[in-house]
Amino acid sequence: MKFCCFHFLPYLHADLDFRSRAPSLWMVHPHDYDAGKCHALYERYFSELELVDQLGFDGVCVNEHHQTPHSLMPSPNVIAGALSQRVRNGKIYILGRALPLLDNPLAVAEEWAMLDNITGGRIVCGMVRGIGIEYHASGANPAQSQSRFFEAHDLIVEAWTRPGPFAFDGDHYEYGYVNPFPRPFTQPHPPIWIPSGGNPETIAWAAAPEHRYTYCQFFNAPYEGVKATLLSYRKAARSQGYEASADQLAWAVPSYVAETDEQAVAEAKPHLEALFNDFMSFPKEMLLPPGYSSVDAMVKAMSAQAVGGRGGGRTTIEELIDKGIVHVGSFETVRRKVRQARDEIGLGSILAMLQFGTLPADLTRKNIELYYREIVAPLRDEPSAFEPVRGEAAHA
């Protein structure tokens, strides 16, 4: 099993008592910002990811969000470029770049080819549509999100694999000359991952035999939902004539370990609750702009939101643990949960969010070191007990 560390690089000095000023810390909130603190945070976070790499994790993961203290990464490729000089062993997972927001996605093909060459083939290219709020923040049309996503994907892969120059005539993107330089270091192209919140159309597309892209479930779903979604990928693969490998399934999950369950909960509690209640709080209008997904997927997302709704109260770490949204506990507790996902889903990669919310530097470093020693080292070579057909039957 592979283990990576996912880091959101939050601006953790944000004033979390924001609700009297705006309904969310994202986009509509007047930012209270200190450049000196931001500079120091970048240095802190890069050193944490450097530690991750030195310990021996399989990689570090970064992503893209806009106009929010939740993430200091409006451009993940800039972060990946910086990390390329400090993360020397593992891979750099860019999970991902929000393609439909861009009017020139060919630039992404170019930037990823650069990073692939700079790192000698150690990048993973995540393609995402971006969460709904990014369509408010960027002005991109949410009703064209899916069609722009698929077309931008086609353009990038074609730009990497087809000898240029050639012309590209899409519905959204049109180029007289596609001929990027440099070309990818990895042949035919760097690995493509598809991180998502569980959209069934995205899953079926990612699982298609000509793609077989690794599907990465994002971090805000209960374990039973994660399991159902990842098994639906397996089912989609099977219905298209092949059995998905563990390498095609990943899960990004906030994780915190300590000597005992009680200690882990006590140390993680305020920081994890800040992530779920404050950094990740938005009205539904921001998350589900019209046309962002098909009607079926929108209805599913709305009912999931209603079920997961907090009714105005704050979500506690105990609820997050009970629902299996996070892995927090003693070494044995977290090992048990990782094994459960591996054996029930056939999960191939855990992307552990080892910094979250306001988690300070000392606890983050301790968490990274203990997670490596107590979870990664003993489990990475342990065989999975997953059996494809039984796993599906158990789910059904």
Partner: protein
């Protein structure tokens, strides 16, 4: 009934009709759809024949592939006028429907006896924001849309699954049409001076979506147009002040 079994560009026309006497009114509804215009259209139907179509993509049929922008709807209704109505209409458009009507009128007014734009989209005054209705919480819609929220024609029952699906489909079509540039088209604005039919502009003084500056811009750019600002009225004048709107449209009949 007119316009039964009519297809335009392979898309079936869905149209309500009220009344049967002359003159003829083509009423283009806003993003909320034709349903909320029915009481007004029915009342106006005592004085005229009112055609109230459902915009392509707004009903249960799939959105047609050719529908990407407001000019596509203008083209659709221009063909409806030319090929199936065939005689002059008093063209009335509200909000998104007003934008469509303006797009039709800048192209050709041969079959447009008069143009009435009610709280119309389509234009923007630089530096004057249009409200972001896509971030309006559903539970605040009545107070944003109306001067008096009690006037808002909301159903108290939650939507049925089928109503919800229709609503989501319609909202997706609206977003595709108006998201960017938001609620306007710079090209339309450049060509408004080409409109050469009798034109009036009606606007709620308390319209929270489209600022009153947009009404003034329409009035300034369309030669000879008349602007009426309606007090105690939000974005839905035909609901909040139906008498004022009906009298204004009737006045256009008599001027012709």
């Amino acid at each position: 009934m007119m316009l039964e079994n009519v297809k335009i560009h392979d898309y079936p026309v869905t149209c309500r009709q009220f009344g049967s006497v002359d003159p003829l009114v083509l009423f283009l509804s806003g993003a909320g759809g034709p349903e909320m215009c029915v009481p007004f259209a029915r009342a106006l139907g005592e004085w005229a024949t009112v055609l109230l179509p459902e915009h392509p993509g707004f009903g249960d049929a799939d959105k047609p592939d050719w529908l990407r922008g407001i000019p596509d709807l203008a083209q659709f209704y221009a063909l409806l006028l030319r090929d199936h109505i065939g005689r002059p209409v008093h063209l009335v458009g509200h909000s998104l429907g007003g934008w469509i009507a303006a797009e039709m009128a800048v192209r050709c007014t041969r079959l447009i006896a008069s143009l009435t734009l009610i709280s119309a989209g389509g234009v923007k005054v630089k530096g004057v924001p249009i409200a972001d209705n896509f971030l309006w919480p559903r539970e605040r819609l009545a107070e944003r849309m109306c001067f008096d929220p009690a006037n808002f024609p909301a159903s108290s029952a939650p939507p049925t699954p089928e109503q919800l699906r229709t609503m989501l489909r319609r909202q997706a079509v609206v977003a595709e049409l108006v998201w960017k540039p938001r609620w306007h088209d710079p090209q339309l604005q450049r060509w408004l001076p080409a409109i050469d039919c009798p034109t009036q502009i009606l606007w709620g003084r308390e319209d929270a979506l489209f600022p009153i500056e947009n009404a003034q811009l329409y009035a300034d750019l369309i030669a000879g147009s008349e602007l009426t600002v309606i007090p105690e009225c939000g974005h839905l004048p035909f609901i909040e002040q139906p008498g004022v709107v009906r009298d204004a449209i009737a006045a256009a009949f008599s001027r012709n």
